[in-house]
Assembly symmetry: C2
Homo-oligomer: 337 residues x 2
DNA sequence: CTGTTAGCGCTTTCAG
DNA sequence: CTGAAAGCGCTAACAG
């Protein structure tokens, strides 16, 4: 292991001069700096992070904490994409990504990396328990939350434009002639779903459609099958279903098929998230695209700003969404002409 | 930030005694040790990793490097599960997980964590380029490879029992009366697929079925649609298809449907991997289950042994597989009676 | 512009 | 059994 001392000896200067040269300080002559840099590269010198960090109290590590979802289908396709966005952005900014997955039974144990202060900041994602968040915050660690379970003004949050996404979905259906639009969703206690519900109601109001309690079924993240079944058993069943996540929509497909209905001929579906699977189903699912990598990338950029004190550590960032048209909705109006 | 010095002062002993007490050295009296430990907990003392590591040259970090696949569907469902297995096992062993995803255009740049020696060892996964692996090995970093693209005896590999898996799949079909079994796969240059091909041929031989070149179609990871289509256009089309990964099988479903065939009535499918999606398709896919978390967990355990010099750094570990019976194959024999 | 000195927090001799 | 001293690799303050 070649150290700064070795380089100093080779360059016939003092270690501090080497340090200055390597860190592009201004109090070194261009000449010696060049010589030192040459030798450093020649000997493949890499500064020891631990020596460095002991001094500057910077780790160049960012912690990423996601909740591990029980059902692999629900959490993964979404969060693994967010993670990719985070990873790419961190790599660009020369940070290491230290990953920790939280067991579902949030046992409140603070992860090693936080306890031992091995990260300069942390990004949280998924339905993380409030107690855990409070624990982290008590450590005064810079932090950013991606798609939080509950809203808060006490730390930075990167949010999906859920309300608008839901509005777009319902609007799309209404404009194509659908009038009884079912709503199936995971627990509305989760902020994202709550906002999507709000967008759904808002669209109904804007288009003068009645809001009917019986068309709303919510519960577990992946109960789309049961939810859809319930809606289909109504005396006056919906002609379309808006699912607040794609996984639920896809389970809904199955319920519709089992009930002998053809999609989109007998019933239309619109999802939310645009997971990879959405375009592989038959028919491919019309859905609201969430820019998952973007969420991750913005989270990183904001966190870095907080760490560098360039930005206050609260406030929200809203990531836009977009409707992706596929084949799970037909245009009733066009066909009626 | 409370340091070992502070604790020393509070306990009225020297810093070195505190260090000994905290590390359960034997040259401290039980009495002082207890006192120190009490104070340490009372003041919520956590040793500074950087001070520690500067001394011991241990980082308590393990690097995990996966190749980021272009098509999210192919790599993710498999590797994100392996990653979960790795994470859980590392957490148990009190290591941090430092994640790095390799761009597809392996630009040969060594990740920061390796360059700066911030990890004690590294786990590689996915179709990683040979040059990159060589680069890492030149750093003399302990390493373990999960499901390697190419075999090697120069480092530890954690392998799936691919040959047996493929054998089981084909055997299952043969025993149910299938005689013309198509084989669709990603590139056979990838070791896992090559072994599955071997298992396929072996089973045919054991059951005295002819091996027919025209029934084998290989290529890109997710060309299952095209591959299946090609097989279905044969004058004498196969009565079953064995796909070396579930994603291909599921694309194959679509090709079969588009050709007006019912699964499993007109054609049977068996996949490989058992990704979460496999049981959600219609019909649910019979496939070979790979214990993905297990792969990750074993990788970690072996790597730790290598780091601790308890095990030589070469050799393979084979993870067993199992056939999961669902509804994409019917029993031709039973029905013929 | 350069080098000396001190110190980040911890561990490890080694003398007492 | 305890503590003083030295040092891991690096940086910063301050003389020169």
């Amino acid at each position: 292991m070649v150290t700064i001392k070795d380089i100093a000896k080779l360059a016939k200067v003092s270690p501090s001069t080497v340090s200055k040269a390597l860190n592009s300080r201004h109090d070194v002559s261009e000449e010696t700096k060049q010589k030192i840099l040459e030798i450093a590269t020649a000997y493949d010198f890499v500064p020891n992070v631990f020596g460095k960090n002991l001094k500057n109290k910077k780790t160049e590590n960012i912690g990423v904490i996601f909740r591990r979802e029980t059902r692999p289908l629900s959490g993964n396709p979404f969060y693994s994409r967010v993670l990719e966005g985070i990873e790419a952005e961190l790599a660009i900014n020369n940070f290491n990504l230290v990953l920790h997955l939280l067991p579902n039974d949030t046992n409140g144990v603070i992860p090693k990396m936080i306890r031992e202060k091995q990260v300069d900041g942390v990004i949280l994602g998924g339905a993380i328990h409030e107690d855990f968040i409070r624990n982290i915050r008590s450590k005064k660690m810079p932090m950013v939350m991606v798609d939080p379970k509950t809203p808060s003004r006490e730390y930075q949050q990167i949010l999906i434009d859920n309300e608008r996404g839901a509005f777009l979905a319902v609007q799309y259906l209404v404009e194509r002639g659908y009038k009884r639009i079912g709503f199936i969703s995971g627990d509305l206690g989760r902020e994202s779903f709550h906002q999507r519900f709000f967008g759904y109601k808002k669209a109904l109001k804007v288009y003068n459609l009645p809001f009917e309690e019986e068309l709303v079924v919510t519960g577990d993240l992946e109960e789309g099958y049961e939810h859809t079944k319930k809606l289909l058993q109504l005396r006056n069943r919906p002609d379309a279903i808006f699912a607040t996540n794609d996984v639920n929509a896809i389970y809904g497909y199955k319920a519709a098929e089992d009930a002998g209905l053809k999609i989109p001929d007998d019933i239309a579906f619109v999802g939310f998230d645009d997971i990879a699977l959405a375009k592989m189903t038959s028919p491919p699912l019309t859905t609201i695209r969430v820019y998952k990598e973007e969420l991750g990338s913005i989270a990183v950029r904001n966190l870095i700003k907080i760490i560098n004190d360039e930005e206050i550590s609260t406030g929200n960032t809203l990531i836009p969404v977009r409707l992706i048209e596929r084949n799970s909705v037909r245009d009733l109006k066009k066909e009626n002409n």
